[in-house]
Amino acid sequence: MMTVCQDDLARALDLTRNTVTVRTRGLNYSPATHGARRYRLTDVLPRLRDRDRQHVPALFDLAQDDQEELFVGDDAVPRARRLELWLQGEQVERLFEARAAFTNALALSLQSSVLFEHLEGLRLKLVLTEPVLRWTVLGDADALPPFDLWAVPYAITNARYENLTEKEAA
């Protein structure tokens, strides 16, 4: 899971601290060293304006990684939906490809349908994983996971009964 602090945002996006504070208002954070708040990169991206998009690669470079490649968290579906709405152009196509590759790999890897009951949620949340996020947003093909080995671990870690019609919390 990739996180950024407010300083990272100010630097990468060339914004004042005030602006950054406004942009991150209401977002979940975890406190880190020296009390600096760390925000999930996937929560921050949908808050970026069009003029910020050119700085997105710089933001990825500054982001910290906690090495949790698979688990996307518990409130993942609404977060994934918000991020998906922010994507533009080729990013949308790349996410579609990743979802198709994942679904295909899962189908080839398993004989039973147990995990397929959770497929819709798993497809929706896929973009929140670091490898698929990098591929989708940056077009980084090297980041793509080998789906035939990765699909089952991802699915097993994240499968749960989701409320897919959940509305965003106010």
């Binding site: 698979l70 688990f71 080839l108 890897s109 398993l110 004989q111 039973s112 349908s113 147990v114 995990l115 035939d148 080995l149 089952v152 671990p153 097993i156 870690t157 499968a159």
Partner: protein
């Protein structure tokens, strides 16, 4: 080896011999290819039938094939092909002979020329039961257990 050195000397010294060697070698390489292996000159020269064909102008194809089949490298290739066929047919024992660990299974499958990963030897029902059991575990345990059971 004595016999090989003699053989090479004789082939070098006699043009008819050399011609036969070239023809025999080509014939032998084709036969080897049909068995799914490549045999270099050194390997071919060791076969009595090859030497006989070149030096005595007597090609016994049956004998050559029998000798080739006896070679370790050919035996290994035959076993690989049988294993591949058994896996493609879903043979239980063949499936059980592959490594449990999924990544190792994948590279074993690739080496055999299979296009899909053979499932860990179990039925659909068994896999479903195991997956349901996995879902009752907490997340930190799920992946480790899944790997143990050959599911991931």
């Amino acid at each position: 080896m004595m016999a090989e050195d003699n053989f090479r000397d004789m082939v070098a010294a006699d043009s008819a011999c050399r011609a036969r060697w070239i023809a025999t070698r080509e014939h032998a390489q084709q036969a080897a290819a049909e068995l799914g292996v490549t045999l270099d000159d050194d390997a071919l020269i060791e076969l009595p039938s090859i030497r006989l064909a070149v030096l005595a102008d007597h090609m016994d194809r049956e004998r050559m094939l029998a000798e080739m089949n006896g070679l370790d490298v050919v035996q290994k290739q035959v076993r690989q092909q049988e294993l591949k066929a058994a896996l493609e047919n879903g043979d239980e024992e063949a499936l059980a002979s592959l490594p449990r660990d999924r990544a190792a299974r994948l590279s074993a499958a690739r080496k055999l020329g299979l296009s899909t990963i053979p499932p860990a030897a179990r039925s659909v029902e068994d896999e479903a039961t195991l997956l349901r059991r996995l879902m009752t575990l907490n997340r930190t345990e799920r992946l480790a257990r899944a790997r143990e059971w050959g599911l991931a």
